[in-house]
């Protein structure tokens, strides 16, 4: 296509509410425009990217045997009442009444609708397993829409739903979907991780999130350097350490530590590493009025999700107040320690390898130095995984060590089991002729979100750097000052048509603009491959090639350029 035909809508100004880089670049590059809070119009360039995400997703859904359907966005309340979600779903569900005063919602997801379809259409076990999917507009009345299309009120999802006779079949399809998602994100050309996840409000037991890695990601992910293991950092297990506890060397000492309350203050005051300090946290126990002491190495963070799952600890996790601490430890928080402590103690596993450590002395302004298990206090009987993993921890699957990165959730797969099919009586007649509730899986990809996530992962100070598979155009054709040279104009037109004929998606920048302006636009909109044509090059029968990721252009003979690009594009 030609830029002269109003295709580009690049701008310089960034509105103040665009705080994340993808939102800024999507506006600057003219991919989207804001209509109202959380509502965006996709401009031609952005829509091209969106369609590529859709196309790759659709192709892989077809490969796993998905049947594409298209369900209404408008959903009757009655179905949501069957599953109880009409009442449970919060104000994020956009609700409305039709002219006959009947209740509807704008679907944020389609479990109820597909389950209704399945219970009507599927009669026999012979039809199972079956996968339905759609690529469709969804609605969520976000309290604070933000980050552009990343957290908007209207967005495009691919949602798939599978129905099964038994758990083995559900697991098979779940695994196939996991693989399809892996293929999809690989085809997008994005760095991503599939992480073990909590399934949240959609329900069910087993689920994985697919995260595009980006420094700006909302979620922290721990993944193995040597395997496919990855988990939301809250979920990753910190294994029992394998080494031996070093022997005690120094004698126990009581020291004054005036005004030193936090581990940071204490370690700085004593000129020791935080990991030499023991952190003691007093939280409420499960029984009314009871408290529990949690022990962690000074450099580790308490993982509240893990802690509140432990028997004896109150859920949600609640820290004891000063009065409760005083009653239990006879001191204020900041000087607590396990030596001589008369309440239940639960120690993080890492604590077991500590020796000659520092901890509070249960007297305000005092700590013990060179504390050792078995000598100064008993080795903790009750150890748990209490902490959030850190970079370098061994991977829970035993392969390699963990790296922590940030990610943007763009996909989520769930085993729903009978959560919806049970409530909605979606069953079939099995081989034995008996009615049986179907099991379900559901599988989502945030199609519009992928576009933003791709930018969060791939950009520089000059603009977007599209992976070729998602780029609105694969190649930019930039003739410099074409309007002053008929020869250049003719050659550029000819090359444009040659590239099109070779099946290359080329954007012909035929605007009457300065070369610098042209290059800046092409870099801003992130076209991965750029051909620069000039009169000087034509004298030598060459054009310049510049990758978006490179600063240097290289000369390529005009006669080689098609083959050169086809190799770059692997077509």
């Amino acid at each position: 296509m030609r830029t002269s035909h109003n295709l580009l809508n690049t701008v310089k100004e960034i509105p103040a509410d665009a705080v994340v880089i993808s939102h800024q670049l999507m506006l600057r590059a003219g991919l989207i425009r804001k209509l109202a809070a959380g509502l965006y119009t996709w401009l031609p360039l952005g829509l091209r990217v969106l369609r590529k995400v859709e196309k790759i997703t659709r192709e892989e859904m077809e490969k796993v045997g998905g049947l594409e359907v298209l369900m209404p966005a408008l959903q009757p309340a009655e179905l949501w009442q069957e599953t109880g979600r009409w009442e449970k779903y919060g104000p994020e569900l956009a609700r409305l009444k039709d002219r006959h005063d009947r209740d509807f919602c704008l679907g944020p997801t389609h479990e109820e609708i597909i389950t209704d379809l399945a219970r009507n259409e599927l009669k026999s076990y012979k039809q199972l397993p079956i996968i339905y999917y759609q690529i469709q507009t969804k609605f969520r009345d976000e309290i604070r829409p933000r980050f552009g299309v990343m957290r908007s009120r209207e967005f495009i999802m691919k949602d798939a739903y599978s129905f099964h006779l038994d758990q083995a079949s559900l697991q098979d399809t779940y695994d196939a979907m996991h693989e399809a998602y892996t293929t999809i994100f690989n085809r997008f050309g994005l760095k991503f991780r599939a992480v073990v996840a909590d399934s949240g409000s959609i329900g069910g037991a087993i689920s994985h999130e697919f995260h595009v890695l980006a420094d700006s990601g909302e979620d922290a992910i721990a993944f193995s350097s040597a395997s496919t293991y990855a988990a939301n950092i809250e979920k990753a297990e910190a294994l029992m350490p394998t080494g031996e506890r070093p022997s005690a060397i120094h004698a126990l000492t009581l020291i004054d530590t005036p005004q030193q309350h936090s581990i940071e203050e204490l370690s700085a005051f004593l000129s020791i590493a935080p990991k030499q300090c023991l952190k003691t946290l007093i939280v409420k126990g499960e029984q009314d009025g009871s408290v529990v002491a949690l022990l962690l190495r000074g450099d580790h963070e308490l993982n509240t999700i893990k802690a509140e799952k432990i028997a004896g600890v109150a859920s949600p996790l609640t820290f004891a107040n000063d009065g409760e601490v005083m009653r239990a430890c006879q001191c204020k928080p900041g000087s607590i320690g396990p030596v001589g402590l008369a309440i239940t103690i639960i120690a993080d596993r890492s604590v077991l390898l500590m020796s000659d450590f520092v901890c509070g002395a249960n007297q305000d302004g005092q700590h013990y130095q060179n504390v050792n298990w078995g000598r100064d206090l008993p080795v903790p009987l009750h150890t748990e995984d209490l902490r959030t993993v850190v970079t370098g921890d061994p991977s829970p699957d035993g392969q390699g060590s963990l790296t922590i990165a940030r990610g943007i959730e763009v996909g989520h797969i769930f085993q729903l089991g009978s959560k919806y099919s049970g409530a909605m009586k979606a069953g079939i007649v099995n081989e034995a002729g008996k009615y049986q509730t179907m099991l379900m899986g559901c599988y989502g990809i945030g199609v519009s979100r992928v576009v933003a996530a791709a930018i969060e992962q791939n950009h520089d100070e000059r603009g977007i750097i599209w992976p070729t598979a998602l780029a609105p155009f694969q190649v930019a054709l930039c003739p410099m000052n074409m309007h002053k040279s008929d020869r250049l104009k003719d050659s550029a037109e000819q090359l444009y048509h040659t590239l099109l004929a070779a099946g290359i998606e080329v954007l012909f920048d035929d605007r009457k603009v300065r070369a610098g302006f042209m290059f800046a636009d092409m870099e801003l909109i992130g076209i991965p491959h750029c051909i620069i044509m000039g009169d000087r090059g034509l004298d030598a029968n060459t054009v310049e090639y510049k990758a978006r990721t490179s600063k240097e252009a290289i000369d390529i003979p005009l006669t080689d350029i098609v083959r050169f690009l086809q190799e770059k594009l692997a077509i």
Copy 2:
């Protein structure tokens, strides 16, 4: 694709609310399923048809330089308030409030949104003309959703909007769009007419509707046998007749016509053709209490839209009540006539050629026979086009005569002028450096409606007959009793892959079902070309070919079948 993979959802039962054939067949063939009143899920087979409509539409929009965008379905009330439509649009506009109590609607159309985009994005006359389009889900809260996807509450539209500096540019784009629409409907393979239309509530002056012809259509269309002239029957002009009025032959006679009130009764009673009778209708005049007599040939129908536009006639057209008729004519309706009538008389043009006609005598139970203009009463001074055209009338453009057919409106193009751009201050700086309001056109195609309209036009008692361009699959491959013959199975599989490789969209019916059942399904879902394979044919190295439109199958050598189909499909 293979039918065995849950692709078909054909059923025998038709729900009682499916009254039109397209609705019945879409349910029976498994193209759609009802979720709630006016809300349908598109099943895989239906979605394939929908996508073909979209694809052809998109390709032709690209050819006229349309820029594809995607606007939100959710639209803020503020923009609708700018044009006054928030108040004017009736209960068909689905309205809702977000969690912050702000007003939104679900767009039935996008004039406000695109005008807002244009006023923000377009700065200079150099950017004009510009055409934006989208293919998107629309909402209309129909009081009585019916006819399946033909009049549903959620549907897919292609809507395009153009912006212009002047009327000449608007007319150019309008003409190009008219041509693009013609190409689109031709490519669909549908019989259609572009008709001059009223522009209704969207506004503007010039507009055309595109109607798919079908006996079940809601609208009657008059079109020329010899030109492209077509108009909604209400709009088509009945020209002044060109012949001479025959001379009077018989003497005026007053006859008794007891209980003969209607033209049908009267003409039957007198054994004459209705066209020999004069129909006199008394309607209210523009001035309070006044009435007007309208004269029509007995076989013609009053066109109320034409009549109420005439000066002196009340609008909306209102018939006089019995008391008013009695005061004006001294008789009851059924015996009224123009002889000696002392009120304003407006005659339809055709009436001028009547001679020796019958009309009411303004005395209950009596009529005049052999009435003649100029002899028994004055030739009407005031003649108008009062009637609806009938088959055989001369075409208003002077070329050929009119045929009346019924149509389903599937497209509509408008010249909006400055209706929206004026209200929303959408202007640009023109060549002279001055601010100028842009002119607009808008162009819609009811994408989901096209699917239903195609079926209304193309079906028989066995099911749908798809035009090849819209068929979910071009070719059905039906091996008979394949599961009993390995040789047949191998040949069928081989042919299936050969056809796929040849770029033919083939549906392989690999279900373990009886041949009759298979054929019935393929005919119901309307696949245009069917290949039947059997063991007997294989002995002779032939397969059978049957067109959906034909009752007879023909033998084709197996080696020729690909070429044969490619010719049929013109690929």
